[in-house]
């Protein structure tokens, strides 16, 4: 289907199904039950899942295929966000032009940074990208927000004010980002008995973008271009002595992943019309590296899994405070309850980074291919058992047939 082979089509359909049905899948617990705090099916978090999914898919095209580890991708995310908010301020709250301009500007910005950074490889490339991203952060945070020339609005963050021109903003349109009149905040809540499910316009706009982004990523992975990118990662010496200059390939991958980051940034502004400089900080760049490695660098679905995993931890685990823990373990005798809570407390709530860090260590040590490799191992384990049974059955059948002949 759509120029994909059977296996990729299956993977693509699974991703489509998961994103479309996410409001159900992420809300497995009844709203008023004790487990409801593990529900992730609220619009804000679902949007973050797919937006960071896009960011990580794009990062993986650079890191997973060419092996160039960029530590500055958050800069492109930030550029995308600022571009989108400026489109809201100057022209219209419609998200389509904002997203398109965000992608284009992030692409141009990554062309500039990539052209310079790709003169070096390995750790020097990483440091160069990190330096550029931190420079962009500093520019956005202070330099470009003076009263004479206020591009980024500094600490406050860029947002839309009542006296902004918005020259194409018609009457009757929502006073918030919208898709041809449908507000991005529009939310339909559907109740089934004790369950509530949220269907949010912003989420579905982001989801469609992610499905498209994922499709393009599959095509790139399976194309001759993708093969050349893997060749860049595998052996640049042989590439050179095959008459190929590896730099244009690496630069193309860099710009493509920069545009993915711009798309993610534009969508962030589209669901919440605000852009702050902290989006460009190095911690944000590091986060996407973690997502990609945790999920499985160089795999198609890995980055999405990694993004979902980290965002789930960040938003759900961090909410478990000591009061919640005490309520869980209240069945224990008083002294024991305090001990158990004291043991678990450092790993939840504000300490969720500790749990995430340990998980990351475990994955890197035992599953170098990330969560995807974990899934494959489980799959192989179950299938092997089934195959063993299957071949037994075939052998039995063969044995039965032979005497008859």
């Amino acid at each position: 289907m759509l120029g994909l082979n059977k296996k990729d089509t299956a993977l693509f359909l699974i991703v489509i199904a998961l994103t479309i049905l996410a409001p159900f899948i992420l809300n497995p617990f009844p709203t008023n039950s004790a487990m409801a705090q593990f529900n992730a099916g609220y619009p804000d978090l679902m949007q973050r899942f797919v937006i960071f999914g896009i960011f990580a898919i794009g990062f993986n095209i650079l890191f997973g295929l060419t092996g160039y580890l960029s530590f500055g991708h958050a800069a492109f995310l930030g550029v995308g966000s600022y571009a989108a908010v400026w489109m809201f301020k100057l022209f219209t709250y419609n998200v389509i032009p904002a997203i398109v301009v965000a992608v284009i500007l992030a692409g141009l910005f990554s062309l500039l940074i990539g052209y310079i950074s790709l003169r070096r490889s390995g750790i020097y490339f990483s440091i160069l990208t990190l330096a550029f991203a931190q420079m962009s952060f500093a520019l956005a945070y202070s330099v470009l927000s003076n009263p004479k020339f206020n591009l980024t609005n500094g600490e406050t963050g860029l947002q839309v004010y009542g006296d902004d021109p918005q020259i194409f903003h018609g009457a009757g349109l929502p006073n918030l980002p919208h898709l041809f009149g449908w507000s991005m905040r529009g939310n339909n809540q559907m109740s089934f008995g004790a369950w509530d499910f949220n269907f949010n316009t912003g989420y579905y706009v982001c989801a469609v973008c992610m499905i498209l982004a994922f499709y393009i990523a599959i095509r790139i992975f399976r194309s001759p271009f993708g093969m050349m990118l893997r060749a860049v990662k595998s052996n640049q010496t042989r590439m050179t002595y095959t008459g190929l200059n590896s730099r244009p390939y690496a630069l193309a991958a860099f710009v493509i992943s920069g545009m993915y980051a711009g798309l993610a940034g534009g969508l962030m502004a589209a669901v919440d019309p605000l852009a702050g400089a902290e989006r460009m900080q190095w911690t944000a760049s590091g986060e996407v590296v973690l997502m990609t490695i945790l999920g499985g660098a160089g795999t198609l679905i890995g980055p999405i899994l990694g993004a979902g995993f980290i965002k789930y931890f960040e938003n759900i685990f961090s909410k478990i405070n000591d009061a919640v823990l005490h309520s869980w373990f209240s069945f224990l005798p008083d002294g024991l309850e305090d001990v158990v809570v004291a043991l678990i407390y450092p790993f939840v709530g504000k300490g969720w980074h500790l749990t995430l860090g340990m998980l990351f260590m475990l994955v890197v040590i035992f599953l170098p291919g990330g969560l995807v490799e974990g899934g494959q191992r489980i799959g192989r384990f179950t299938f092997r058992r089934r195959d063993a049974k299957g071949s037994d059955a075939e052998r039995d059948a063969a044995n039965q047939r032979n005497p008859a002949e």
């Binding site: 790139i220 399976r222 194309s223 271009f225 093969m227 042989r238 050179t240 002595y241 008459g243």
Partner: protein, 251 residues
Amino acid sequence: MGILEVKNVNKRFGGLQALGDVNLSVEENSVHAIIGPNGAGKSTLLNCLIGKLIPDTGSVMFDGQSVLGRKPYEINQMGISRVFQTPEIFGDLTVLENMMIPIFATRDGAFRMHAIEKTENEKDIIGQAEQMLENLNLAEQRHTKAASMSRGNKRRLEIGMCLAQNPRLLLLDEPTAGMARADTNNTIDLLKQISDERDITIAIIEHDMHVVFSLAERITVLAQGTPLVEDTPDKIKGHPKVREAYLGESA
């Protein structure tokens, strides 16, 4: 006038004169071996030919054009392919993909971004690559990762990848170093077959005299950065200067 003309090439690393006034002429469609003891400057000379090093003085002409000042991938595009001492292949890619890349590269000549679409052209390239692997006896392993093959097969693949570009000059840097005897003989046979079947010039740097004497039509002996003698294999075998350079005997 040979296809490769090296004239008065000097190369110095700090106080060490690695190459001193090297003159070398390689005849078109011949097999030319360069031998010499360790530290004679063989690899330095080779690196000067492919643009990895730039000589301090002198000229290197390939087919009437200077190679100096060109980037390694541009020199490759002129028709010079190189086989390395340790096989340089795309270890993470399958054997078939390894074979496809040089064919892609040659089709387009200079750099062109390869299409995202799967085209008819690509099917053609896959067919051609499979044919090459068939000739190299690697067809059975075409879907395995190149890194997991034996040393001898990696070497075959590397030579095949170089040939897929239809080079005019093939440079080999100790192609049988660290190989088992059987693999060495296979490689010799492969190279013989190549030089018989194709219009190709082969320049080979080798330590193993068995390889040199079974392949070369002309031999240059290098010692301490300067060519000692250049002659046919038969004459080289008994040459007193060569014995001296190799064995340190006083003649």
